[in-house]
């Protein structure tokens, strides 16, 4: 593909892998480095291109909390289903939210029972549905980090401008910095650095991560989403260790600016307000980690327009997603992994989306032993 092939060049990959191997082995007498890729998009790239098989055993990637689908707690899914089942409501959602289980089934099952649930690719599609069916109440299930929040904001600004009243947003937008802090605060933390979220950083910039290096002494490199971006970011992290530095760096300079996108930030400021608390699946309640609609947009807030059950549903006890997310245990070390918790019947957040650490390990884990050897033998 044009403009993409240069970031997927196998020869360049081999060079990067050699550099990673040298740096990682020289550094700590073979004690492995554990780096967390914060963003689900990175996890996807890592699996899609088989990057883990290219890395030496001295570098280990830990999959972080940056999958917006995975972090939505069961109670919020229940609220979404309750909204979808109200008479006259057209409930719109991104496709990958539809399979996520609440305490009594998913949106897909609610749809099968007769709720009008429609998959959309953008909140603007939901607004268009509202414009086309003025006799229905159209609700958009907004999820995602600062990456998708601006498109929800644009949609709300347009709804306000055009006076569309039968449209509302059920906001579950979350912010990236508080969960990073929560992970860094955890006593069983076992991480040596971070691949910072590329897409989120196009909006918020690189500065908000400074505390990671300054206060917690862990390097962070904001990374792009092509496979070479990932490898180059790992090289940059290892070079920091080799040179005794600990900094926040930007590998994704072709897109991310230090100050972010001021227009998008101003829009977020106007349309949203920080919630005092929000529950994250697997991580529990995190202060000021999510966005609700601001007073100016109260009329478009589904949480104010409709009566919601709002019942908190505890994460299943046996589930150890929190520890997996912090890199404290491996997916297979969780008590329910592969038995009660599988991609078909997920219990915890990490098994829900294909970008989740456990789902990825469930699907690809066996590859490490058998298949990697086979692929090596055949090439």
């Amino acid at each position: 593909m044009r403009f993409v092939d240069e970031y997927r060049d196998p020869a360049a990959a081999r060079v990067a892998v050699r550099r990673i191997t040298e740096l990682a082995e020289a550094g700590r007498d073979g004690v492995p480095y554990a780096f967390m890729e914060v963003c689900g998009g990175h996890t996807h790239t890592i699996y899609r291109h088989g990057i883990e098989q290219l890395l030496p055993e001295t570098v280990e990637l830990v999959h972080g909390p940056g999958c917006p689908v995975c972090v939505i707690p069961m109670g919020r899914v229940d609220d979404a289903i309750a909204l979808a089942e109200q008479p006259g409501v057209v409930f719109t959602s991104f496709g990958d939210m539809m399979r996520v289980p609440g305490s009594a089934g998913s949106l897909l099952e609610a749809k099968a029972r007769g709720a009008d649930v429609r998959m959309v690719y953008s909140p603007l599609d939901a607004l268009r549905i509202a414009e086309a069916s003025p006799d229905r109440q159209v609700v958009f299930f907004a999820v995602g980090f600062e990456t998708t929040a601006p498109s929800t904001a644009v949609t709300l600004l347009r709804a306000q401008e055009t006076g569309v009243r039968n449209f509302s947003v059920f906001s579950n937008h979350v912010t990236i910095v508080p969960p990073l802090k929560a992970i860094l605060e955890s006593p069983d933390l076992r991480l040596d650095g971070f691949l910072g979220p590329g897409h989120v950083s196009t909006v918020i910039g690189n500065r908000p991560y400074e505390f990671v290096a300054r206060r917690y002494g862990k390097p962070l490199v904001t990374a792009g989403f092509e496979p070479l971006d990932i490898l180059q970011s790992i090289v940059m992290l290892l070079e920091q260790y080799a040179q005794g530095r600990c900094e926040v760096q930007n590998q994704y300079t072709r897109v991310v600016r230090d100050e972010g996108n001021p227009i998008a930030l101003a829009m977020l400021q106007r349309v949203f307000r920080l919630r005092p608390h929000f529950e994250w699946r697997g991580l529990g309640f995190i202060a000021q980690s999510a966005l609700a609609l601001s007073e100016e947009f109260a009329d478009w807030d589904a949480e104010r327009r409709f009566e919601l059950p709002g019942i908190r549903v505890a994460d299943p006890k046996a589930c150890q997603c929190g520890e997996v997310l912090k890199g404290a245990i491996k997916p297979w070390e969780c008590k329910v992994f592969g038995t009660a918790c599988t991609p078909e019947t997920p219990i915890g957040t990490c098994m829900v989306s294909s970008e989740g650490a456990c789902a990825a390990y469930y699907t690809f884990g066996r590859l490490h032993r058998t298949a990697a050897g086979l692929a090596a033998a055949s090439s």
Binding site: M1, G50, Q53, L54, L108, Y121, G338, F364, A371
Partner: protein, 367 residues
């Protein structure tokens, strides 16, 4: 290998967990849902579970059990009759390259062709929503007639039902077809051996992406045309050039990734694909990248995946490429003994990954 007596080192415990997953994967998926959801129609694990628990349970017999594209039935003459059926609910009814009418003919003709049969006769049943324009129905019938003539089949019987507004999405079509398998022709996963070569007759994902874009909810414009086409003629050409052909499948719902998984499971082999060899048109690959979908899982309606013995790979590829429907044919991988039941993709980037069965898919109806 079992866990008894093995010291519980971390490696040992990890091995145990992996074995447990392996055992779980070998089991046919179980149906735990109380209602049918769209995931049960997506061709992945949920579909298999539904078919097993409900239909196989009710109808179990020798001809049905292989769950192939069609059933093979022995005739007193010693020939085999191939019999296949399929329903078509695609939305929109018209898309670049075809319509629900042409698809209803091609889909069933291709199911027969994949059994090695020469398709001969079709039935067509229509469930029509009241209010559907007659002119549109006539146009769809004309598409079917044209497709049938091109495929060398005749529509010999049919049925018409009209239902209330809202009870069907305009029109649903069900076709069934029969054809004869020439004497001595035998295709099946049981004939597949390590070392065999996997070919595809052309570019991947054209149909699924064309329909997705034709729905117009994406605000994406790209020049993508469905590949819907009858494959019986291409199969004859292939079998003439590669008489040792082991196995054929048309990668419709679930795409090449899904049929390769079915092959790996049925033949108890590994299928190793090379990402760099997968033919994908540029706009199709671009649209898939944007939407975050993998062309390996997207439907095709005019492509076949063939497994041939290694010595016949070159003549098979040449024969496919000489046919207008196979111009972009390619060798995409090979069959290996290990790891059993796994489809492995060697990525262009130099890594490798497993191509698993889809658990469910969020794509709209495409066939």
């Amino acid at each position: 290998m079992n866990g008894r007596g093995r010291p519980l080192t971390p490696e040992g415990r990890q091995e145990l967990v992996l074995e447990r997953i392996e055992a779980f994967r070998r089991r046919r998926p179980r149906l735990t849902d109380e209602v049918v959801t769209l995931a049960h129609g997506a061709g992945g694990k949920a579909s298999a579970a539904l078919v097993d628990a409900v239909f196989l349970e009710a109808f179990r017999n020798e001809a049905l059990e292989p769950l192939g594209d069609g059933a093979l039935l022995p005739l007193p003459s010693g020939h085999q009759l191939a019999f296949a059926t399929d329903s078509y609910v695609v939305r929109p009814h018209r898309f670049p390259g075809g319509s629900i009418g042409s698809l209803a003919v091609h889909g069933t003709v291709n199911d027969l062709a994949m059994c090695g049969a020469r398709p001969a006769w079709l039935s067509a049943a229509f469930v029509i929503e009241e209010g559907f324009p007659v002119a549109e129905l006539a146009a769809l019938a004309a598409d079917m007639a044209e497709a049938a003539a091109a495929a060398g089949v005749t529509v010999v019987t049919g049925d018409t039902k009209v239902v209330d507004t809202g009870a069907a999405d305009g029109v649903f079509i069900t076709t069934a077809g029969v054809g004869l398998v020439p004497a001595g022709r035998r295709l099946g996963a049981d004939r597949v051996r390590p070392g065999d070569v996997v070919l595809v007759s052309g570019t991947l994902a054209d149909h699924g992406v064309a329909v997705l874009l034709a729905r117009g909810d994406l605000d994406l414009e790209a020049d993508v045309v469905s590949d819907t086409a009858p494959l019986a003629d291409l199969v004859e050409v292939l079998l003439a050039a590669a008489p040792g052909t082991r196995w054929l499948r048309d990668p419709t719902r679930g795409g090449v990734g899904t049929v390769c998984n079915e092959l790996a499971a049925q033949a108890e082999v590994a299928v190793v694909l090379q990402e760099s060899s997968l033919p994908v048109r540029r706009p199709v690959g671009g649209a898939c990248d944007l939407l975050g979908i993998d062309p390996l899982y997207v439907a095709n309606e005019g492509k076949l995946v063939a497994v041939v013995p290694p010595e016949e790979a070159a003549p098979a590829l040449a024969a496919l490429r000489a046919h207008p429907l196979g111009a972009d044919a390619a060798v995409i991988g090979r069959v290996a003994a290990e790891p059993e039941r796994i489809v492995l993709l060697e990525t262009s980037f130099g890594g490798s990954r497993i191509v698993d069965m889809l658990v469910g898919d969020p794509l709209p109806r495409i066939c």
